[in-house]
Symmetry: C2
Subunit: 413 residues, 2 copies
C-alpha cells in the first residue's frame, strides 16, 4: 500500500533545521581555521602596530616645522640620525627643526608626527636637508593601534575566517583560535540494486552515484565526512548502519534512497524507531526533492534523501548545507548564492510547490543579466546537474515564468 | 637614489601571465579531484544507465496496450512476474496484454516501453490488474544511455570538477581521473623588521602578516603551498631562499616586501639575477598594488608583492590567482567574482590607474543592488580587508563615481 506525504514548505523545514544546536568550540592552529566560524568574540591582546610606523622611505619630523614648505621656499631641517629597520630609534625625542632618516615600516621616534617622502627632500650635506612640501600631522604614518586597538573586539563570534582574518590574527600573535567544531557527517547509500563505483555491475544493478556527490558536497561545506558504504533495502541493515554512525559520534546521518512512501522504503521506519517519534519532516513542497525525511535522535540529525541523483543534490543544496551551517555556527544561508537571470524560455510550474529547474546560464547580448536556459531531463539523471550552472527557483505561489521575465537562480557549486 | 616604475595596465599584466604554461596532468582518485581541472576530455566507457530503468513503483508494460485507459474504461492486463531489485527481469519479453511488477530503479524487461504508477492500477487477483491511465512510450523510465552515452565525451578538458561531476564519473566506474597538477607555491617574507607570528616582537619589529594571508589564499586557490619563513633585506638572503624554492620544484615564488624601487628593495635585483633578464613587469597601474614585480625563470613565475598587507592581498586577487588559474588549466578568471553595486558615497579617483577601493556591501532599501560604502584606511592596514566585502573597481579612464552611480565590486574571499 502506498502512503501519503504531508508536505512542508522550505520555510517550515528551515525553521526546524534551525532548532539543531551549534556544535561546541575547539582550538585549532591558524592553518586549520580557514573557512571555520569563530566560537567567541576575539579581543585584541595588544595594539597593532605596537608603535607608529612610517609608510614611506623619507624623514620623520614635526609637521609644524615644515608648514608652508614649497619648491620655492623649502624648510631646512637638521638630520639627527637614522632609524634602522627592526630597531628602536637610536635617538631621543625629535625636537624643533630636527628630522631622522626613516624607511618604510620603520618605527617613528617620539616627538615626530609626520613623515615626508624622500622625493620631496634634498640632502644638502650629511646632516642637513631641504624639504619642498608640507605634510599634515600623521601623514605617511600608520599610528600605534591604528590597525587594531588593544582590548577591542577585532573579530566577532560567528564570523567565518577568511585569509585576511587569519592574517590579522597572525599580526596580533594569536596563533590558535577557537572555532566551532566541524559536524561529522556519515553517508549511507541504500538499494539492493546499488554496487560500489569500483565494481562492474551485473544486469539489474547500477553503481552508486550519490555517495560520491554527497561526500564532495559535505567536504566543500567544511564538515568532516565518512562514507559507510551501501546497504540493502531492509529495516535491519539500514538500522545497523545508522547505529554504527551514531556510535562513531555522528552529528548528521545522510541516508540516500528509500526515503519515499513505498513498500520498499525503510528509512522512515528506521528513523522512527531510533528517535521514538514521528519524523519532524516527511515530504517537502519542492520539486525535485519531495521525498525527504528529517528526524532527530538527541542532537543528531537523521536525514533521508531521495535516491534520484538530481533530487538528492537539490535537497542537499536547499537543506543539508543549511543544517551544516547551523551546526557550524554560520549564517545558515552561507554559500547559498543567488543570481538574477532572464528566462530564455517559458518556465511552466504549478502552484503549491517550489520548483528548482536546472538551468544553464548564458551571456546575454546586452551584457547585464545572464539568460537562463532549461536543461531538460528526469530527476534521476546526474548529467543534468553536470550541464547545469544553477537552479532556477519558481516560487510556491507562481504558475511559472514567461520568456523574458526575471527570476532568481541558485548557483550550483 | 630612487628609481621609477614603468607601469603596465591590468590587461597587459594578464597577457603576460597567460604566457606561463599549463602544468602537466596527473592521475588522482575521485576524492582528491574536487575543484581540479580535467587534463583531457573524458569519454564515457559505457552507457549510463546500462539498461532502461523504472523511475516509479508500478508495472512495466507496452504503452500501446493501455492507450485510452481511464477510470471509466480501464485496461486489463495479465501480470507475468515481478522484476526483483538488482536483478535481471526473470521473465521473457513482455507480450501484448502483459505487465510485470516493477520498483523504482528496477530493470525494465524487453518488450516493455513504459511504466504505469501503482496508484493508477488495481490488483484484481494475483495475476490480473486494471490500469486507469494511459502512458506515453518511455513514460516513467530512464532509458539505457539517457544519462550518458558510451563513447561520447561526458566531461570536457579544462572543466573544473564539481561534486556532481565526480558523481557522474563514479556512476561510470571511473574512479581515477587525470587532472592538471597543482602549482607548488612558495612564500617568502622579507624585512629586517619582521618576526614570525609566534614571537613577541621587540621595539621596532612587527609580526609577519602576509605569509599567513597568502598561505590561506593559495590553499583556497587549489594550489599547494609552503612557507619558507622570513629573510632579512639583503640580496644574498633573498637569493638563497629563492634558490631553495627553485630546488624544491617551485612553480611560483611569492616574495612579499622589498618589491619597490627604494634603496632597501632587493627583490628586483634577485629576480634579474635569476632570470638573467629585466623583469616582465615592474609596477602596475593599480592602486593599491603598484610595486609589483613579475619575472620568469624557465617555467617558474617569480613574483614580488608589496609588503603592505592590503596591497599584497589586492595584488594576489588580481594577478596571483589569475596566474594560478592559468597554470591549473582553468579559465583564468575562475573565482574572480564581481557584483554590481550602487555607490553609497562619492568615490574619487584619478585617471591613469585602476583603483580598487575596499568597500562594505550593505543591503539597499529597494532590495535590488547592494550599496557600496568605502572603508577608509591606509594600504598597510590588514583590518580594512577584514572589514571589507569587496573591492570597488574604478576604471583607468575614470575620475571616480558619484553617489548613486553603479559600479563593479570584486568580491573578496
Amino acid at each position: 500500500m502506498k502512503g501519503f506525504f504531508r508536505l512542508l514548505t522550505t520555510t517550515q523545514v528551515r525553521q526546524i533545521l534551525r532548532s539543531f544546536p551549534r556544535l561546541p568550540g575547539e582550538e585549532v592552529p591558524l592553518n586549520k581555521a580557514l573557512g571555520r566560524a569563530v566560537a567567541n568574540d576575539i579581543v585584541s591582546p595588544e595594539d597593532l602596530p605596537p608603535f607608529s610606523r612610517s609608510t614611506m622611505d623619507g624623514y620623520a619630523l614635526r609637521a609644524r616645522d615644515i608648514f608652508g614648505a614649497s619648491e620655492t621656499e623649502p624648510a631646512l631641517l637638521k638630520v639627527v640620525g637614522e632609524v634602522r629597520m627592526g630597531q628602536a630609534p637610536g635617538c631621543g625625542p625629535i625636537g624643533p627643526g630636527e628630522a631622522v632618516r626613516i624607511w618604510t615600516g620603520g618605527m617613528v621616534p617620539e616627538g615626530a608626527d609626520a613623515v615626508v617622502m624622500v622625493e620631496y627632500t634634498k640632502e644638502l650635506d650629511k646632516d642637513l636637508i631641504e624639504v619642498y612640501k608640507a605634510a599634515a600631522p600623521n601623514e605617511n604614518m600608520i599610528l600605534k593601534g591604528e590597525d587594531c586597538q588593544k582590548d577591542k573586539v577585532c573579530i566577532t563570534r560567528g564570523k567565518r575566517l577568511r585569509p585576511q582574518d587569519l592574517g590579522l590574527l597572525a599580526g596580533l600573535g594569536i596563533t590558535k583560535v577557537k572555532v566551532v567544531k566541524s559536524p561529522r557527517v556519515f553517508i549511507i547509500s541504500t538499494g539492493d540494486e546499488i554496487v560500489p563505483e569500483t565494481e562492474v555491475p551485473e544486469d539489474g544493478k547500477v553503481r552508486d552515484i550519490n555517495s560520491t556527490t554527497l561526500e564532495a558536497l559535505v567536504r566543500q561545506g567544511k564538515a568532516t565526512v565518512k562514507r559507510l558504504g551501501i546497504v540493502e533495502d531492509s529495516f535491519d541493515s539500514i538500522y545497523e548502519k545508522c547505529r554504527e554512525a551514531l556510535d562513531m559520534g555522528a552529528d548528521v546521518i545522510l541516508v540516500s534512497g528509500g526515503s519515499s512512501v513505498g513498500a520498499r522504503d525503510f528509512t522512515l521506519k528506521v528513523f522512527e524507531h531510533l528517535s521514538g517519534e514521528p519524523p519532524l519532516v516527511h515530504g517537502v513542497a519542492v520539486r525535485p526533492g519531495k521525498p525527504t525525511i528529517i528526524s532527530r535522535f538527541e542532537d543528531t540529525a537523521l536525514l533521508g534523501l531521495p535516491g534520484h541523483a538530481a533530487s538528492c543534490m537539490v535537497v542537499y543544496m536547499l537543506f543539508v548545507q543549511y543544517l551544516l551551517n547551523v551546526m557550524l555556527g554560520l549564517d545558515p544561508e552561507t554559500d547559498m548564492e543567488f543570481k538574477r537571470a532572464v528566462c530564455g524560455q517559458i518556465f511552466p510550474s504549478v502552484t503549491g510547490r517550489e520548483d528548482y529547474v536546472r538551468v544553464r546560464l548564458e551571456d546575454s547580448k546586452d551584457g547585464i543579466l545572464p539568460v537562463a536556459m532549461p536543461i531538460y531531463g528526469k530527476s534521476g539523471l546526474i548529467s543534468t546537474l553536470v550541464k547545469a550552472d544553477g537552479l532556477l527557483k519558481i516560487p510556491r505561489d507562481s504558475e511559472g515564468y514567461h520568456e523574458g521575465e526575471e527570476a532568481e537562480v541558485m548557483l550550483l557549486p
